[in-house]
C-alpha cells in the first residue's frame, strides 16, 4: 500500500505547478476505493482494474512514477517511486507472528527504496522544468522504457481477458488467462500479485497459481525487487 505519503508532497508542489495523479492497479475495485476513501486525497485518484498502465506505459510493479510535462510529453518513463522511507525499513518485526508473515516482513525489509533521491529529483524538475538534469529528452525516454517483446504484448492481452472474465464470473477461465500472462511475462509483479491476492490475501501459495510472493522474491533476491534509480 503506497497511497499515503503523496498527499504531503502534493500540498507542497501543487502551488509550484505539479499535480499528482494516483492510479490504483486493482481489479478489486472496492478494495482500492476503501483505501482511497480512508486517505481522502485531494488529488485525482483513479482505479485501473485492467492494469492498463502496463500496456500504456510499461508499468510492471508498484509504486511506479511517470513524469509528464505541461505539453503531455513524458520526461521520465516508469521507475520506482517512493514518497517517503518505507515504515518497514527500521521497524522491529514483532514477536508471535505466523512464520509466513514474519518471513515476508524479513524479506520486505531488504527491499530497496530511495525516497530521498526520488523526491529530490522531483522537486528539482518542478522548479527547473526541462532545464532539470532529471528531465529526459524524448529519445532517452523511449530508450529507457521497457523492451516489449511480442510475448509481453500477449501477456497484456491475457491479463486483460482474465480480468474481464474474473469480473463477469468466468473464474476458471480467468485463472487460465492470468496464469498465461504470468508465464509470458514473469517479471510483471502487478499481474502476479493481483492474481495471488484474488485467491489468498497474504499472497501465499495457492492451488490456482504458480509461485507466491515469498518464494518469488527469494528467487530473485529482495534487493533486486526494484531496479536502482538512474538518477
Amino acid at each position: 500500500m503506497d497511497l499515503p505519503g503523496w498527499q504531503e508532497l502534493r500540498n507542497e508542489l501543487y502551488p509550484k505547478g505539479l499535480e499528482i495523479v494516483a492510479v490504483a492497479l486493482d481489479s478489486n475495485v472496492d478494495a482500492a476505493r476503501g483505501v482511497i476513501e480512508a486517505n481522502a486525497p485531494n488529488h485525482p485518484s483513479l482505479i485501473d482494474a485492467q492494469h492498463s498502465l502496463g500496456a500504456l506505459f510499461g508499468v510492471v510493479n508498484v509504486p511506479s512514477g511517470i513524469w509528464i510535462d505541461e505539453e503531455g510529453i513524458i520526461v521520465r518513463p516508469p521507475e520506482p517511486a517512493f514518497p517517503a522511507p518505507s515504515p518497514l525499513q527500521n521497524a522491529e518485526i514483532p514477536e508471535g507472528l505466523p512464520d509466513q508473515v514474519r518471513e515476508m516482513l524479513t524479506e520486505a525489509k531488504k527491499i530497496r527504496n530511495e525516497p530521498e533521491v526520488y523526491v529530490g529529483a522531483l522537486r528539482d524538475w518542478v522548479e527547473h522544468g526541462s532545464e532539470s538534469r532529471f528531465a529526459l529528452g524524448p529519445k532517452e525516454v523511449i530508450e529507457q522504457s521497457r523492451p516489449r517483446p511480442r510475448d509481453e504484448g500477449l501477456a497484456a492481452a491475457h491479463f486483460e481477458l482474465g480480468e474481464h472474465l474474473h469480473r463477469t464470473g468466468g473464474t476458471e477461465l480467468a485463472v487460465k488467462h492470468w496464469r498465461e500472462a504470468h508465464r509470458l511475462q514473469p517479471d510483471n509483479w502487478t499481474y502476479r500479485r493481483q492474481a495471488w491476492n484474488s485467491v489468498n490475501p497474504t499472497q501465499g501459495p495457492s492451488e490456482e497459481y504458480e509461485g507466491d510472493w515469498l518464494s518469488d522474491v527469494r528467487k530473485i533476491g529482495a534487493e533486486n525487487y526494484y531496479p536502482p534509480l538512474k538518477m
Binding site: M1, W6, L18, E19, I20, V21, V23, A24, L25, D26, A32, I36, E37, P44, S45, L46, I47, D48, S52, L53, L56, F57, G58, V62, S64, G65, I66, W67, I68, E70, G72, I73, I74, V75, P77, P78, A81, L122, G129, G137, P138, V141, I142, E143, S145, P147, R148, P149, R150, D151, G153, L154, A157, E160, L161, L165, L173, T190, Q194, Q203
Partner: protein, 112 residues
C-alpha cells in the same frame, strides 16, 4: 481491448486503443504506420493485429477476443503520453489530457 466480435466499429477501435486512422495510415502520438488498404467503418481485428503488431487472442469458451498493445519494440514508442481515461474512485471518468498546462506525476500503486 476486449471484443465479442472479430470486427469492430472503427470509432470504438480508435477510442479503445488510442490509434487514429488517417489517410497516411494508423497514427498514434507523433507516429504513423502506413496501412496497405484504407480502413472502412469497421476494423477487422485479425488484419489490424498483423499490421500494427498487436497480439490477438481468442477465448472460444467465452466467445471473446483480446487485442494486446503494439509489441516488438519498446513499451513507449513515442514520448507523447497516450491518452489515458480511467474512472476516479467516485466513478467519474478522468482524462490525463485534462491536466495539460501542468506538470503531472502519475503514480501507480495498489491496495494488495
Amino acid at each position: 481491448m476486449i471484443s465479442n466480435n472479430v470486427t469492430i466499429d472503427r470509432r470504438e477501435f480508435e477510442q479503445e486503443t488510442g490509434w487514429e486512422f488517417r489517410p497516411e495510415g494508423a497514427c498514434k502520438g507523433d507516429r504513423c504506420v502506413p496501412l496497405p488498404d484504407p480502413v472502412s467503418d469497421t476494423v477487422d481485428l485479425t488484419t489490424i493485429s498483423d499490421h500494427l503488431s498487436m497480439p490477438l487472442i481468442l477465448e472460444p469458451d467465452a466467445g471473446l477476443w483480446a487485442l494486446g498493445p503494439e509489441s516488438g519494440g519498446k513499451a513507449l514508442t513515442s514520448a507523447l503520453a497516450s491518452e489515458m481515461e480511467l474512472p476516479d474512485w467516485k466513478g467519474n471518468p478522468f482524462r490525463l489530457s485534462s491536466l495539460r498546462g501542468r506538470k503531472v506525476l502519475l503514480v501507480a500503486w495498489a491496495s494488495w
